[in-house]
Subunit: 307 residues, 4 copies
Amino acid sequence: MAEQAETAVGNWGRWGPEDERGTLNLIDAKGVAAAAHEVRTGQAYALGLPIQREGAPIFDYRGAPQRLTLTSQTDNMFDDFPGGTEVGANEDVLVIASHSITHMDALCHVQHRGKFYNGFDASTFRTHTGAARCGIEKIGAFAARAVLLDLPRFKDVAFLEPGYTITRADLEGCAAAQGVEVRAGDALLVRTGHLDNFRAETSAGREVPFAQAGLGLDAVSFIREHDIAAVGSDNSAIEVIPFDDNVFLSVHIALLVELGVPLMEHLWLSDLAAGMAEAGTYACLLTVTPLPVTGATGSPINPVAIV
Amino acid sequence: MAEQAETAVGNWGRWGPEDERGTLNLIDAKGVAAAAHEVRTGQAYALGLPIQREGAPIFDYRGAPQRLTLTSQTDNMFDDFPGGTEVGANEDVLVIASHSITHMDALCHVQHRGKFYNGFDASTFRTHTGAARCGIEKIGAFAARAVLLDLPRFKDVAFLEPGYTITRADLEGCAAAQGVEVRAGDALLVRTGHLDNFRAETSAGREVPFAQAGLGLDAVSFIREHDIAAVGSDNSAIEVIPFDDNVFLSVHIALLVELGVPLMEHLWLSDLAAGMAEAGTYACLLTVTPLPVTGATGSPINPVAIV
Amino acid sequence: MAEQAETAVGNWGRWGPEDERGTLNLIDAKGVAAAAHEVRTGQAYALGLPIQREGAPIFDYRGAPQRLTLTSQTDNMFDDFPGGTEVGANEDVLVIASHSITHMDALCHVQHRGKFYNGFDASTFRTHTGAARCGIEKIGAFAARAVLLDLPRFKDVAFLEPGYTITRADLEGCAAAQGVEVRAGDALLVRTGHLDNFRAETSAGREVPFAQAGLGLDAVSFIREHDIAAVGSDNSAIEVIPFDDNVFLSVHIALLVELGVPLMEHLWLSDLAAGMAEAGTYACLLTVTPLPVTGATGSPINPVAIV
Amino acid sequence: MAEQAETAVGNWGRWGPEDERGTLNLIDAKGVAAAAHEVRTGQAYALGLPIQREGAPIFDYRGAPQRLTLTSQTDNMFDDFPGGTEVGANEDVLVIASHSITHMDALCHVQHRGKFYNGFDASTFRTHTGAARCGIEKIGAFAARAVLLDLPRFKDVAFLEPGYTITRADLEGCAAAQGVEVRAGDALLVRTGHLDNFRAETSAGREVPFAQAGLGLDAVSFIREHDIAAVGSDNSAIEVIPFDDNVFLSVHIALLVELGVPLMEHLWLSDLAAGMAEAGTYACLLTVTPLPVTGATGSPINPVAIV
């Protein structure tokens, strides 16, 4: 009974009891081919923010990413080899939180009442070996048709007010105004303008308040009914902060845990939005490329959108 | 005079004295659009190997990549928030060499006689702040048309003999046999079968000798004359080991330093090759997504090829 | 009732229900002063092995310790300051397992049946914040009188046979033969010769089998009855491997969990043993200096013994 | 000639051209034994500050130290062994700058005009392998008699004014007032009260200005003429900030580079000072225990002083 109740949650069981990819199952190769054929300019936009200690949106508990030098011109590693004294190699080591700056949440990132997406138990995650279920390597890199909804443009503001809750009506109105069709298996990119504001404020040496515009629970139905495969946004958590319904991570629970929708956070969407406006389309071909770290709960990403 | 001599090296100066992107300048949005329009099946292939301590091609001096847990179900981080006791987040920290497993070399990765690509001095690399010139963030993520040359299939072997030097004639013969056109601005993917052999030997508990098939200096002219934008292969160094001409990193010097061609190493090309054979094409749309770490000399990557 | 049963385990409750220092409570300042006054030569011996990737006893799952350079002579960090162009600083970052090479186990290192020393629940350890109870910072650095029992010398062998179980009779016989008095609050240093063998075998390029001589359960009564404050040895786990009584970590359970005795592993005792033999004493003044990392389960150490 | 001039610098050449230990050569076992015999109470004081992200004196460019969990109660590492299901181990990985919080500077930490102590060339430090000369492992752990000069007590203030330059006369006056004899081979511990002020201000949520009381160049003669073996203080750089003589790191250059005196920074001296006042002595037995990381430029330490 309890089992049955559980499998009734969102998309749990929809792709079988062993599924670990969630709504990425909705991506269809034909749809990707169609998106490729609709490419207009061939211009590619990288959606990852610079990875560096300063000027990036970083949560303290994750630590700032560190690039350390592994080898440099001071080393004489190759001196014993023919020609080795004339050549040198520079290499780095990165110490980086999986959820640093621009990143993707794996389906094991958040658990609710002890369960991940599809009812997998939270105890399947172990400290040393990581996620046995729904790790980022189960998602892998993928391509999808993507639709960008540029809400600040739609609402004629520079950025949505911090704390503004994006509704289903906002998404529908914006899509209609942009004249873009949302299809099953699409990735949905929601621009709030948060990072533009973050950059402006940070450059000016001002603290950025944590409140952010983002999706509310009402918007989840838009994602569910359109069978969206993945959602990305230019804010810290996809969802509005303070959290909707006054429940911590309420939209993460609805999207990541219940529906199995992987999330992309801190995407830099403003250049893409400008390019799309110029190209006269709000659909593009998107590739998302998490590092396939076995057992990891997420990965920094640098997606590419081709308009 | 010395200056003039320098600018006569390979592609130095070709895109101006400040250029830090090398042959990536050859990529043209129209060519990318054309590649997108030629997509056949829409099937996407991820080219990154699993990132893990065991069973991966790792050089000792780089250390094995480590996934460490930052937060787990044992933490009660959100207990003070509404609903916070019912929700938890798992996160990781990665400690990973920039040139781990499947990765891209930035143009500052190798210096020859104290110079990087375009004549930038090796001293522009600093230990603490990294590369001031030709760092991986100057490359960024990009899309390109890519051509795969499947040499083992062309030569009807499971994998090229370790130490086999791939020649220009091999590349031309393979392209002709495959019926694929190589265009300016293409990425070139060269399959040697090395990783297939590595996996088989490693699974069987056997040591894999370091000798590998790869490009020789003769093959460089193919890349130069076809104006290839980037080169990737399924071996450790793109180039044949032992090194051609008995000069340490001789092909890296020719490609990375002299021509400014970014390199992708340890690409998993076998699934892509099989998919291409089935789709009847050896061209695809490729996106390459290094993490934009400021000042880094390379990045792990997980490129996506759409056939 | 269950509570009462719990407090009957070993030293649980002996220093109150909130105690997190275990047998370190047995150290008495007067005893330390007495040990200082008995110092003979003033010669100091460092007991830590070199911390490096190669030639050190490292368990794979902990990873080899890494020293990475943070700043070097390539950096011009101080150029903007008066005299700054003439001065430079080299610094490192260490990535090191807390139980690397020569280290100390905090009392939270091992749990048995869900409990740490003194009955603290294993769930008091959290992934992100570490040990709330019995972390290494609760031990802190300390001084103690220490007695070295040099078993290979006692038994006239170069090193104890791998897998040899050290008994109470061995310890008593060795102490008697050495003419050394064991006092309450002493640290006990047990030399097995394992590291001498490890070094010889490793230098010769041979694999060292994992079996090691070490303390058995029978020897635990010696430690308990003499009210030993801390135990160190020159092997990997203090205890014999394969484990005594065929129970995994059986002596760790008895010493660390039940008695609250902090353990020091991979101590280099051979130079100290030789110095003591020459000085004609097997007692010394020992200082043990774990890094006070808040919430950590252990720390690399480099103790100093003054003979 | 140039060679001769070089060897005339400070202590360069004093212990031979290959010496890498500097003034630690001044420590004499007999002096250590004498210090041991003069121990009064046997009370041990740990001089290391807590190692944690918050509330510690950390320089941004070094990054905050991180304790990450390697294994925890969520892992079932030992399940396959006899008794293994009933036992678990918690372990950590530390990512920590060598010069974090309470630490020791190796003699290769600072170079002046391209030279380390004893004239070793700055180029002997390499990024990958670290210091070939004067690394921390050449210092090793050591014991010494130590004298504490408690300047705030001497001057009857809570802490020395930030930016106050401690002179030779201050040190002599304080030693005389305290009635303590300074001997050749002693470690010198200079209390400024900076950390007391740092803690108070930090607890109150206030920023601590970077200016600090510390040694000036005038005080260097005190150290040289008394043949001090090592110097420690409770501030960030031993020396006064802003730097004396308006030369960046001027006292580091004089002590570390010219005289070969290893430095200990951010020592917590206040509890020791109180204990000494009570015991009626300002001399103690000190052990300093840097981690012997091969090639490292420094190490976090947690010295123990026995009064």
